[in-house]
């Protein structure tokens, strides 16, 4: 995707400052791209195209503005224009708080099975990433923006180009799905068994 060769060799101080600020956001942009794209290669392509367009549009970036947010918006727009537009829509019926109630019931199941200490397990980080990857992109994106990058609902809504209420409903559903997925991933990885053994709880 796109021409990734360097556009110029000689830089002004402002251009270098822009480049350095943009590069400092690359881990954040990569995480967001991963939340949108189907796989690692597509995500890397998306990141490169994002930076290429950012470079071409750097005259529109206001000094002192939020670079990460600006890059996220470009990334989302690139994604919508070039990759999986259809995947950015999903219909969620009902009250989002029903999903909240569902995660509480799931927690009750985890307590009963002795897996409730899963979130404290040393290996839960990679398991969370694998569980996150198993979710549809619309749900991954809100988890990454709100729960990982620390955006509030309004900032996430602006970045994704959806209403705040949509962010909220997607987020609640996403957390429910992530916890269900995490339980499966952790069991497959043997984390659940380790938790059982460590705490002497009854098996599920």
């Amino acid at each position: 995707m796109g021409d990734v060769k360097r556009l110029r060799v000689e830089q002004s101080p402002a251009e270098r400052e822009f480049g350095e600020a943009a590069l400092r956001c690359i881990d954040d942009v990569a995480r967001f791209a991963h939340s949108l794209a189907r796989n690692g290669d597509d995500a890397d392509d998306l990141v490169q195209e994002t930076y290429l367009r950012a470079l071409r549009s750097r005259h529109t970036f206001r000094h002192g503005a939020d670079m990460r947010r600006w890059l996220f918006t470009i990334c989302r727009n690139v994604f919508l224009r070039t990759l999986e537009r259809a995947a950015d829509t999903v219909a969620l019926d009902g009250d989002p708080r029903d999903d909240t109630y569902a995660v509480v019931r799931l927690h009750g199941d985890l307590v009963a099975s002795g897996e409730d200490r899963l979130v404290d397990h040393i290996d839960v980080g990679p398991a969370i990433i694998r569980a996150l990857d198993a979710l549809p992109p619309v749900f991954r994106a809100v988890i990454v923006l709100v729960d990982m990058e620390g955006y509030d609902y309004s900032e996430a809504a602006d970045t994704l180009g959806v209403p705040v209420g949509t962010v909220r409903s997607r987020l609640f559903r996403a957390r429910r799905l992530l916890q269900e997925s995490l339980r499966t991933v952790a069991r497959d990885a043997g984390i659940g068994k380790a938790v059982h053994h460590q705490h002497g709880s009854m098996p599920a």
């Binding site: 060799v9 990569a30 990433i129």
Partner: protein, 103 residues
């Protein structure tokens, strides 16, 4: 969970179901001050609900911590660095020791 309610104070206290339905809004600081007081009032006397809030807060902490598991891999970082015309590492940039764990 039990359906408990409290009429001992001026604060209308939710029962367990209504309290846990507000769990994410509560943890995400999306409730009004009055609603927060109502949830807090329930949590103060309920035995069943506080563990759910504690667990979900730990879940959110774990997700936030998992952020470090993913970022740009070294190859991508260098390609973008080249695009931006930045040949030398920026002293202000925090290097990622292991790159992306899932590639």
């Amino acid at each position: 969970m039990t359906n408990t309610s409290d009429t001992d104070s001026d604060v209308a206290v939710f029962d367990c179901r209504e309290t846990v339905r507000r769990l994410w809004d509560y943890l995400d600081h999306q409730l009004s001050d009055a609603e927060v007081r109502e949830v807090d009032a329930h949590l103060a006397h309920c035995e069943q609900c506080p563990p759910h809030f504690t667990y979900e807060r730990a879940f959110l902490d774990a997700v936030r911590a998992a952020r470090a598991e993913r970022g740009a891999n070294a190859r991508l970082r260098e390609r973008v660095r080249g695009m931006l015309g930045l040949d030398r590492p920026d002293v202000n940039e925090t290097p990622r020791a292991a790159g992306r764990a899932d590639d």
